[in-house]
């Protein structure tokens, strides 16, 4: 059919001799079968990290945030670093599912489900840090605009910290709804495929009675499109508002108009790196090699290269402006000569190495399309982006306008434990997801099988001459 035509020069997005039925079977297989040994091992390690993190969180809540390495000069450190890092990671999921939907990029279909799951789990980790940093997390509801017991003292809508509350909660809940609505037809497929009655019952509840009626599909597509249209400005707003936490302050190095676009690019940069990290593992463990192909990681690496380039330009701008201002205070912001040679030189150079130098390897096509290299570089970027947030927060705070209050920060075991705990919880959730949820948006993937499937693209007979 002509409507399924795609240029033969385009590489296939689905490899192998797939039929619609096989796609369903490939998605159902890990769900219907028992969990593998490697899954249990990974789950055990993640759970242990999470439990240790929970102990550290309870310790923090019980004793107070004095158990962290914070001091009078450096009042924000690992907690907010981790917060910004996790929120940033979340951005790739929405970008893949929403922005690439608006741009009609078909390659998103194999990866959007997992990327969105990553978004939701990452934002959950992020939200934890401001809440425990409050010190009295049971009063966390005070951030909501509700009348309180002390007269009608309202929240302050002028504050970027409150904007953050609205941005993060909107982002989380809208991403969750977007993700879940997309999952419904796939849950219905699993409901109709699995044989164990208990599983069938669970997926029947989860699938909301989806039957695939023509009118429902029409509404479904409209819903996806409009939610994508809403999520696109939303994702840009979230990290913009996170950057406002810094740029509306008067701390040198933070008070910078370049922050919003620079933070958004950095968020997408780190988020795509995390998607690469996760999918490299998922495709092997769940045997999805036919769906997550070299072409997919190539495309994602190109996005990494672009956003990494934007981040690099922002770094150079910051470095130049710090020098050009001639202000002695500016010579110790996170990107300055003072930072490069000062006591935090290791953080500065980790940032340059991990975020600017090493990702340049992705210009080489064979590296961009190599799973091992991609995995290694994605880990490097994850580390580099953590250091970026660390230098922005800790280095900028460590030497403020009053030399008498200059200080250094060193984390306690609690700081480290809470961070490890969020990594643990993130992977616990992701592993549960990858075992029990359809990891590929199979219903939508089936719509491109005839145009982009390897089997359908192979020239046969007369077609080959055209």
């Amino acid at each position: 059919m002509s409507s399924h035509y795609e240029s033969p020069y385009r590489e296939p997005l689905v490899l192998g001799d797939k039929t619609y039925q096989q796609i369903s079977a490939d998605i159902v297989k890990p769900i219907a079968g028992p969990a593998t040994r490697s899954w249990w091992i990974a789950f055990g390690i993640s759970m242990a990290l999470f439990l240790w993190g929970s102990v550290c969180i309870l310790y923090t809540i019980g004793i107070g945030i004095g158990v962290w390495g914070l001091n009078k000069t450096i009042g924000w450190a690992w907690d907010i670093t981790n917060f910004v890092w996790w929120v940033g990671i979340g951005h790739a999921g929405t970008l893949i599912s929403a922005v690439l939907l608006l741009f009609r990029q078909k390659w998103r279909l194999s990866i959007n489900r997992s990327a969105e799951a990553m978004t939701i789990f990452a934002v959950m980790q992020a939200a934890l840090f401001p809440i425990i940093h409050m010190g009295r997390p049971w009063l966390a509801y005070w951030v909501f605009p509700i009348p309180n017991n002390f007269g009608s003292l309202w929240v302050n809508f002028n504050s970027p910290l409150l904007w953050d509350v609205f941005a993060i909660s909107t982002y989380f809940s809208v991403s969750l709804v977007f993700w879940y609505m997309g999952l419904i037809p796939d849950f219905a497929m699993i409901r109709d495929k699995v044989t164990r009655p208990a599983l069938r019952k669970i997926y029947a509840v989860l699938s909301f009675g989806w039957a695939g009626r023509a009118k429902h599909w029409q509404r479904f597509e409209e819903l996806s499109l409009v939610l994508a249209g809403l999520a696109t400005p939303l994702v840009f707003s979230v990290h913009t508002i996170v950057s406002f936490d810094f740029s509306t302050s008067v701390v040198k190095g933070w008070h910078s108009t370049v922050f919003p676009p620079y933070f958004v690019a950095g968020a997408i940069f780190s988020g795509f790196a995390m998607v690469q990290t996760l999918l490299s593992v998922v495709r092997k463990v769940l045997r999805l090699e036919d769906y997550i192909t070299r072409l997919h990681i190539d495309y994602m690496n190109r996005v990494i290269l672009l956003t990494g380039g934007i981040v690099a330009v922002a770094y150079i701008t910051e470095f130049f402006i710090a020098w050009y201002s001639g202000s002695p205070f500016e010579d110790y912001i996170y990107l300055s000569w003072g930072a490069a040679t000062g006591p935090y030189w290791w953080a500065f150079w980790s940032l340059i190495l991990c975020n600017i130098a090493i990702p340049q390897l992705l210009w080489i096509r064979s590296i961009r399309r190599n799973f091992v290299w991609t995995f290694a570089i994605s880990i490097v970027i994850n580390i580099g982006m953590w250091f970026e947030r660390f230098t922005i927060i800790v280095v900028d705070l460590s030497k403020d306008y009053l030399p008498a209050s200059w200080s250094m920060f060193s984390p306690t075991f609690v700081d480290i434990g809470v961070f490890l705990g969020t990594i643990g919880l993130f992977f616990v959730l992701f592993l549960l997801y990858s075992k029990n949820f359809p990891v590929i948006a199979q219903a939508e993937l089936k719509t491109i099988l005839k145009s982009s499937g390897d089997h359908y693209k192979k020239p046969s007979g007369t077609d080959a001459q055209r």
Partner: protein, 177 residues
């Protein structure tokens, strides 16, 4: 139209289904429903379905959210308890508005997205635990089913049409059975 029986035609290809839908509708036979495992491009037009108004509702919900956010920021920051915070003006909403833009935006998106999703579920009569109405479990996997309710007299014609258009299988169901 009072119908005696429900006929199901099972197809295994979306292109076949699409041409069958067009053909059967050309014969003047109304199609009650089509169940498909994925959205088939052009099926809604072929079935003569009206365009969905879900997008319009999303716009209205967005306006509601924006209106609510304007009211809330005005009531809390300007009317009920005006405060001088960081020298930012608290006399009129208009002067303070730039600081409220993030809130206005987020609440617009929040209301639009969530209320639209709720509308989607309500209009489709979907909720946790709702009974799935697809006539054959393969319609969520790789098969396409067309549902036509007919009077006994029309049955042979529809069956013939199903066969002609390449249906893989044809099922008959009495509504009361």
């Amino acid at each position: 139209m009072r119908s005696d029986k429900i006929l199901y035609g099972l197809y295994d290809d979306e292109d076949l289904l699409l041409s069958a839908v067009e053909r059967i509708r050309r014969e003047g036979i109304p199609i009650d429903e089509v169940y498909s495992p994925f959205p088939v491009h052009g099926l809604d037009k072929a079935l003569g379905l009206q365009e969905t108004r879900l997008g319009i509702t999303a716009f209205i919900y967005g306006l509601l959210g924006l209106g609510f956010a304007i009211w809330m920021t005005w009531y809390m920051m300007i009317y009920d308890w005006p405060q001088d915070i960081g020298g930012k003006p608290s006399f009129t909403w208009g002067e303070n508005m730039p600081a409220f833009v993030p809130i206005l935006f987020e609440l617009t998106v929040f209301c639009s997205a969530h209320l639209m999703a709720v509308t989607f579920l309500v209009r489709n009569a979907m909720y946790p635990g709702a009974r799935a109405a697809n006539p054959h479990p393969a319609t969520t996997d790789d098969k396409f089913v067309m549902e036509i309710s007919v009077r006994a007299a029309d049955e042979p014609q529809v069956v013939a049409l199903f066969k002609e258009t390449g249906a893989l299988a044809i099922h008959l169901k009495n509504p009361e059975s």
